[in-house]
């Protein structure tokens, strides 16, 4: 208010020319302020409703993948079918089928019996096999087997196969539905939380497919990305901001780094394909190569964020430290860097979160392969979360529709966690300093 000419704008000063002009325009100014506020609010509401629709539709189709229909059945491990010295080979599927047949004695035709056996997921026989191999004493005994149901029955239980649909157009015919209902009435069908979604690797059977391979692959890729991009990025930023002479060369480098941050990620994928896999002969589909690619992509983001954080440290701190005799290097590492840390961390974590969700470069280096085991090192072949979503979205089986949404929710969960950590660290460091 102090720099408004002719000072007084109070209600009593009507005779003043300036204040008359101000008062005449007041209504218009209030109005435009109101419009600006309303526009801002509308923008936020629009963005928020879009987010709500996205999350809503994902939850709507994905929540069903977080449970899995199981069957619990007493199974007699028949010594005629499974012999100790032939393990791990044996008629485990026949043993499971026999347990079901015992409940449906009216099923006599061979083809029909086989169909009945398909209530069990294909994975059930391998679970039973592993149990028997671990403890051969089970042969000849009756054990309780808890196994996932195969996908069509799972869909039926979740209401995704509708009973009203005409029989010919349904994946399950009336007889199969009757089997399921009979088992359900006896209380053998349960729908527990689907831990397999996190503990299994990929599978061609939706009821067995899980994200373990993708989670571990993403972990290795991000670790590699972190180890390479963070020290290099922060180092480059410190040099450019604190030590580099200001001349044409450093200007050129700065412009290039800013441009690099805007390069589409698929370009980095092509680069990685040509350089890492083509020239250096690194393995395809390895999370390590994925991590290197993501590091190339994340580095400019980290450099830019770090430079901004370093710039925000007041010059008085540097001058005071230099004044009491600290060396340039001591100033940077003991005074400037700790103060810039919250900003650096935020930038780094947001850069890494971006890398976690990146798909295109990973597709080019073959991280969209089908692998039924999780990687045990960064050099084993693996998928990553976003590429796993890509594979599942392309699978014909119905069960993968909800699993795709569930995988997206898991990915969103990780992104939210990472951003929350960024916020937490920023607050913590700010309080300490």
């Amino acid at each position: 208010m102090t720099d408004v000419p002719n000072g007084d704008l109070g209600p009593g000063s009507g005779g003043n020319k300036t204040s008359r002009i101000v008062r005449a325009g007041l209504a218009r100014r209030h109005r435009s302020e109101l419009i600006l506020k309303a526009a801002g609010l509308a923008a936020i509401l629009f963005a928020f409703s879009m987010l709500l629709i996205l999350v809503g539709s994902l939850v709507g189709s994905g929540y069903k993948a977080f449970t899995q229909t199981h069957i619990e059945l007493e199974v007699y491990v028949d010594p005629d079918e499974i012999e100790v010295d032939k393990l791990p080979r044996g008629g485990f599927d026949d043993v499971l089928e026999a347990a079901l047949l015992a409940r449906f004695p009216s099923v006599t035709e061979r083809a029909e019996q086989r169909e009945l056996g398909r209530i069990f997921s294909n994975g059930a026989q391998f679970t039973l096999r592993d149990r028997v191999v671990a403890d051969p004493g089970l042969i000849g005994q009756t054990v309780t087997v808890r196994a996932p149901l195969s996908d069509p029955y799972d869909q039926l239980n979740k209401g995704l196969i509708e009973r009203e649909t005409a029989e010919v157009n349904r994946r399950l015919d009336d007889r199969q539905i009757a089997w399921f209902d009979a088992l359900d009435e006896e209380g053998l069908i349960t729908t527990p939380f689907n831990w397999a979604l996190f503990t299994n690797a990929d599978s061609r059977f939706p009821e067995l497919a899980g994200l373990k391979g993708a989670l571990v692959g993403s972990f290795w890729a991000l670790l590699t990305c972190f180890i390479i991009s963070v020290p290099l990025g922060i180092g480059a930023a410190i040099y450019l901001e604190e030590f580099a002479p200001r001349n044409r060369l450093s200007d050129l480098i700065e412009v290039n780094i800013n441009n690099l941050a805007a390069v589409p990620s698929v370009v980095f994928g092509l680069l990685a394909l040509a350089v890492f896999i083509g020239w250096f002969g690194m393995p395809r589909s390895a999370p390590f190569v994925g991590g290197l690619t993501l590091a190339l992509m994340t580095m400019p983001t980290i450099i830019i964020a770090t430079r901004a954080a370093l710039k925000a440290v007041p010059p008085s701190i540097r001058e005071a430290a230099l004044g009491v005799g600290a060396s340039e290097q001591q100033v940077v590492f003991q005074h400037v860097l700790p103060l810039a840390m919250p900003g650096i961390l935020t930038g780094t974590i947001i850069g890494l979160a971006q890398a976690l969700g990146e798909t295109a470069p990973l597709l080019l280096i073959g991280m969209n392969a089908f692998i039924t085991s999780a990687p045990s090192s960064p050099f084993d072949s693996a998928t990553a979360l976003p590429t796993q979503i890509f594979i599942w979205a392309d699978s014909p089986e119905r069960g993968f529709v909800s699993r795709t949404s569930a995988a997206i929710l898991v990915l969103l969960g990780f992104l939210i966690t990472m951003n929350a950590i960024a916020i937490f660290l920023r607050h913590r460091f700010q309080r300490r300093t």
Binding site: P88, P231, G281, A369, A393, D394
Partner: protein, 345 residues
Amino acid sequence: MSYVKFSTSALSVLALCATAAVARDEIRIVGSSTVFPYTQAVAEQFSNNTGAPSPVVESTGTGGGMQIFCGGIGEAHPDLTGASRAMKKSEYDLCVTNGVTDITEALIGFDGLSMAISRSNDFDWDVTLPEIYLALAAQVPVDGEWADNPYTTWDQINPELPAVEILAYGPPPTSGTRDAWVELAMWAGCEELDFVKDGGFDGDWVEENCSRMRTDGPFVEAGENDNLIVQRLDADPNAMGIFGYSFLYENLDNLKGVMINGVEPNSDTIADKSYPVSRPLYFYVKNAHRGVIPNLQEFVEEYMSDDALEQGGYLSERGLVSLEAERMEALQTAVIDGENMSAPE
């Protein structure tokens, strides 16, 4: 000084990678997205049965797979590639140039290509191949002239068909499915047109003039994701989709197959070839890798086993249509023994 520590560890990881790139104990497979689900099934069954490291299966498309497969011999190159058509002469030459001379070709079965429409469409669609050609090709005969396709609704082609806009979603040119569709449906339809029959045009002419799909709207390239096409058909009852039979089979509650020449697509009609649009599926093995890459021979044996290939085997559950028994037996021994293929024509 964590900065220094970080940099040294980064460098040491880099150095490690050079050594890790050498050893490989899992089988690597690339190739067609149509063969992908079948190879997936064999890979999973194989690693479950034997406990061997699970093979790495990548879906790259037939052409892309051939490029990588023919890149050379050695652990850096894949051992198998899937293909939804036979290997071309140019691809075989590329292989030979790069030292991949001993290749075994394995025909695993047939896959139907289906045209499907939403169940909410009431009409019983039954079209002939020439009608499909007239609806979807870029150039058709108009009043005795070879001209741009003028048709916009089905009843303009055949008055018995409904008066709805022609709209079909199909695969892009990079897809093996598209190649197969053009070859099996479009060329065949083109050859049956009176204009072509009476004009005395030969196969080369057909190949040259009947391969282009129209680009003025009625045919929409919908990308490689077939599930996306399925969703669009749900939304628009008059739209048709072109994709592999397995996608129709999985979505039979919402979609129905369009009959072609009066034959509905299902596993029986594809097997006995009465459904005209079906294609062979192959995989190719590098024989130089057998015995070098652990478990490769065993994997090929699993792929060619009766369990997998015969009618009712686990591949037919996924939509593969098996070969007739005699032919299959001959192929099984040939592939397991590693007979080399001869250069394609």
